[in-house]
Amino acid sequence: MFEKILIANRGEVALRIHRACREMGIATVAVHSTADADAMHVRLADESVCIGPPSPRESYLNIPAILSAATIAGVDAIHPGYGFLSENAEFASIVEDHGFTFIGPSAEHIAMMGDKLGARARMRALGLPVVPGSDGPVEDDAAALSIAARIGYPLLIKAAAGGGGKGIRRADNGDELLAQIAMARNEARSAFGSDIIYFERLLLRPRHIEIQILADGQGGVVYIGERDCSLQRNRQKLLEEAPSPALSPLEREELGTLACDAMRSIGYKNAGTLEFLYEDGRFYFLEMNTRLQVEHPVTEMISGIDIVREQIRIAAGMPLDYEQSDIVLTGHAIECRLNAENPVTFAPSPGRVTEYHPAGGLGVRVDSGLYAGYVVPPYYDSLVAKLIVHGRNRTECLLRLRRALEECVIGGIETTIPLHLRLTNAPDFMNGVYDITWLERFVTSAEGSKTP
């Protein structure tokens, strides 16, 4: 097993990784920008190295600086967390070239899944259902029109090299199509350096459901149920739950088994998430994330499996010490993302945290690097805390969530706590009747935007 791990990330996930290492008796090295010198994980880590100024490009995305720190500190492995360099194939291979272990999949698998178009074709070939689409790059306008006619409108124009919602445009008919294609290509070219686009049928009211898998690269592959991440705003997830209120045990098993077979056949290694759209009882593979996800705790709460610990064990070459039949999901879990944002306008709200009092008690977990006096820097993601609640069933979980939200105090900055409180009182959410378009409507509704 590793003796020392470098955490190439910041914020709550850096703390999350530190905790897993601590509990495995592994020393930690925190690398940080000048803006994060006072961060909780930097204070708790065994060693810390400042690698650059606040700008992510010069710090958390600065590969030479991170590798120099790794060399100086003499670590065995590097955990990339999520975001930043976590899905950067080049980083993964450079890390390995320098003799460190990258706690994640092979560079090849990162690249494979990074090419959304190729991944879609690949997974389709491996038996996963995909959204009807162009099944490949769309060349000229003539081709575009005929392909679109086959798929049917409305459809989405997507950048092959895209991600994070960039370079995605909608066309409702042939006239719109050509205009939108032009704009999509421009966006894609500037954002990703490639203007290759493809089409996808637009599902109007789907749910976002993702399968969590663990693969040891030695034949051991399991799925740990799904997460329902349909509550999104601008394609940003705000609240996630497991299991999904919409999925049947049979559907879960079918989809999970398909996902595991696909992972086994490509020889995938690490934790991973396969994202699907779900509409009218049918699934459509969207893309795969080859890293830890923000919402992994809900899966941990219902399965008792420490996903970060498993990532580290797998990277150390240890096989999974359980099989699919050993995985038992109990109860229900919900995660609320507490962002440093105005709960109505979603304007960022960095600054000094004057008071911090997390909720406690039975079934409540808080993952956060906040503390009284901490200053939330303006340079990074606005996620400052995750409130995760577990209950024996969804109703108990919802009531506990409301109770916990009422106890949380984060003073000095604005957070999304009031929005989550309104959510827990919204009938649609209480009944689990929502899709990926629901939250957008809710936050603009009187009910969703009224100040509590």
């Binding site: 000048t34 204070r43 708790l44 120099s68 100086i72 008071e355 200053v375």
Partner: protein, 144 residues
Amino acid sequence: MPKTEIDSDAVRQLAALLEETGLTEIEYAQGDWRVRVVRAPNGLATHAVPPAAGEVLPAAETAAAEHPGVVRSPMVGTVYLAREPGGAPFVRPGATVREGDTLLLIEAMKTYNEVRAPRGGRITRILVADGAPVEYGEPLLILE
């Protein structure tokens, strides 16, 4: 009425005494001059968390870090004071340098990066040892 001149140093000195003595309030008067400083005991940020472990920058050098003439490391890496092991150092304390002169090397990822003098002046202190690891922004030497 005349503008008052605030004796900032006196205030700073009393603030430091508060810290040192663990007091929460000091009232000080001399003739018609009078000052009172208070520090509320609760909620000081840095107390609410464990102290940073394994800090790379030793406390002794924090003073130097405040020096106006300090030259900081532009990157994480390993410091070399000479071109080759055992060779003559680029600069010694007391040496005078012109802007652009090489002060030392920082090796990062097997490449040696020259740290050059941001301006002409005299080297009064060298704060790092040959072969020592440095983090971004760490004080290297003082150029006055």
